[in-house]
Amino acid sequence: MERTILGEQQSLIKTTGLTKTFLASKRGLLESLSRKPASYVRAVDRVQLEIGKREILALVGESGSGKTTLGLLLCTLENPTLGDIYFDGEKVQKSNLKKARRKIQMVFQNPTDSLDPRMNVRSIIMEGLQKFPGDKEKKQRQFEDSMKAVGLDPMEFGQRRPRDLSGGQKQRVAIARAIASNPEFIVLDEPTSALDASIQAQVLNLLVGLHDKYGFTYLLITHNIAVARFISDRVAVMYAGRLVEVGSTDEIMTAPKHPYTQALLKSVPTLETKELQPPTGETPSLLNPPSGCRYHPRCPYAMEICKTTDPELSRVENSLVACWLYPAPRVVSSMSSSEK
């Protein structure tokens, strides 16, 4: 077996050519009759990604880069337009969708929006368990265990409503709801960006503790580089719907290869340096993405080929990079094709 990017580790999630397009504007009767071609937004474009068992993968990118859509696809909350998702080696399709979903949970950015204001904490968590097997007592136990795991007393907080909780406590409830059914894979979509700095640290520590104790696999979606560096084993960088670089967190943070990753890291204000070197220009429209490599209009190293041909992810040292600067042997995905 050839060494893959994950080493000997087994993958839990794998995607091949995952693509999601959305209709850019509603088509009424007139538009349909006029036979004007519909315009589509490619939110996620041909994404090849693997997440290992018990791994924490951080997905970073700017707004509109498609990271939330990719998260929803991996949660099976959106259906891919093209491409496949494999969960634990099995292709996810209609016949086994329910089975896969029992192992997948999601935590959203803003707990005030993701918790029903009219339900108390106990019913919020119990509602998620309805579709799972087990009697009342087992579910009550699951509720109590998950509350204790996130550091909330089930007796004290069970009857409270979201409005009686602070921001940090609400996000703890959202996490308790996600872990109550004992999933394998949890998508965390900006779980701390609505929280203050002092509360963010508490929630990040909690997520690390839960990972170490229960062995969850996380996909953590974030625009915060410091959060990604702290929590993840590997980082995937997304730009305008495409993955541009995937590698170990140390590798990406210390020696980023893609010019966009480099620019992104130099844009983050830190307490160590005052030298910000942001890239020029803005993130492109997904309606009319640039030809070739989508980053070429902002890239200081743009060459002729960048304007015409979109580079695929290929192995550069220990990372995967989609950039013409690195003329490396092409591989289709992180798993080399010889292995299939």
Partner: protein, 325 residues
């Protein structure tokens, strides 16, 4: 001093009771100086910002203290005088740029309006020249200014709108720019572009800046001095390097240590236990004492004043020579 805030107290009347949003805040900003006001949500930093331009909502009152802009009290001004200082002396940029522009007018026309008002004030009412707007757009690094000025706000990105607003402000040639979380709604690469722009403009236009942010790393990158707020009080104020590299107040130290800087394998993050306090029923004494690892008896009964310590000012009994009885 361009701006002097002296012992400012501001209260909000709410259903839950009186919210003491500001509790005797003292802060001054000199010419061509940039000060960052840092604090968590609910600490009163935005209230301080809008107090200075007198945009407090109807349920808020100035309870005591004073705000002097160019030596004149903002609080006692009549409406006409307040309108005259907005734009010409102080200009404010808000967090959500989309709410700051009129959605049914082209951005060029809206910027032109600012120019017309300026002309009226200077008594030189005249035809406005789009060339001036183009120049201003170039100053804030808007690409293709001729195209952008014919656009409506919804056709621009968040970063472009924030720049249009800054351009509009600069045309009025204010002395003080108050920026309330101007980069929280934009992406990190755009945030870096705007921070750089504000730093450059400070030099080019000789501006003073009051930069309100919850992100202490952003403050470090933009400010000459940093003021840290907690529950309506300034708890630390000093030169940027001093506040970040040798912080005094336990809250400042806590805030800095909360920022993830390493990897999880090297240990968990430091946290500040508990939650920010309610401003309706704030804790007695120092408002930070229920969360403070160094709490002493005096902290629970008496609120410390902001006093000088080395190059900074700090409100904490750990450093105080004040009588503790």
């Amino acid at each position: 001093m361009l701006l002097e805030v002296k012992g400012l107290c501001v209260n909000y009347r709410t259903e839950r009771g009186l919210v003491r949003a500001l509790n005797g805040v003292n802060l001054s900003i000199g010419e061509k100086e940039s000060v960052a006001l840092v604090g968590e949500s609910g600490s009163g930093k935005s209230t301080l910002g809008i107090s200075i331009v007198r945009l407090l909502p109807a349920n808020a009152t100035y309870a005591s203290g004073d705000i002097l802009l160019n030596g004149k009290s903002v609080i006692t001004m009549n409406d006409q005088e307040v309108r005259a200082i907005r734009g010409s002396i102080v200009f404010m940029v808000f967090q959500d740029p989309l709410n700051s522009l009129n959605p049914v007018k082209k951005v060029g026309d809206q910027v032109m309006e600012a120019l017309r008002i300026k002309g009226k004030r200077e008594g030189t009412a005249r035809e406005t020249d789009p060339k001036e707007v183009v120049e201003a757009f170039k100053d804030v690094r808007i690409p293709d200014p001729h195209v952008i000025l014919q656009r409506y706000p919804h056709e621009l990105s968040g970063g472009q709108i924030q720049r249009v607003i800054i351009a509009m402000g600069l045309l009025m040639k204010p002395k003080l720019l108050i920026a309330d979380e101007p980069t929280s709604a934009v992406d990190v690469t755009l945030q870096a572009q705007i921070l750089k722009l504000l730093n450059d403009l400070k030099e080019e236009y000789g501006l003073s800046v009051l930069f309100i942010t919850h992100d202490i790393s952003v403050a470090y990158n933009i400010a000459d001095r940093i003021a840290v707020m907690y529950a309506g009080n300034l708890v630390e104020l000093g030169p940027t390097e001093a506040v970040i590299k040798s912080s005094l107040h336990p809250y400042t130290k806590g805030l800095i240590s909360c920022i993830p800087s390493g990897r999880r394998n090297n240990g968990l993050l430091n946290t500040i236990p508990g939650n920010p306090p309610s401003l309706v029923h704030p804790p007695s004494g120092c408002k930070y004492h229920p969360r403070c690892p160094y709490v002493m008896n005096v902290c629970t009964t008496k609120d410390p004043e902001l006093t000088s310590y080395e190059n900074s000012q700090v409100a904490c009994w750990l450093y105080s020579t004040q009588s503790k009885t």
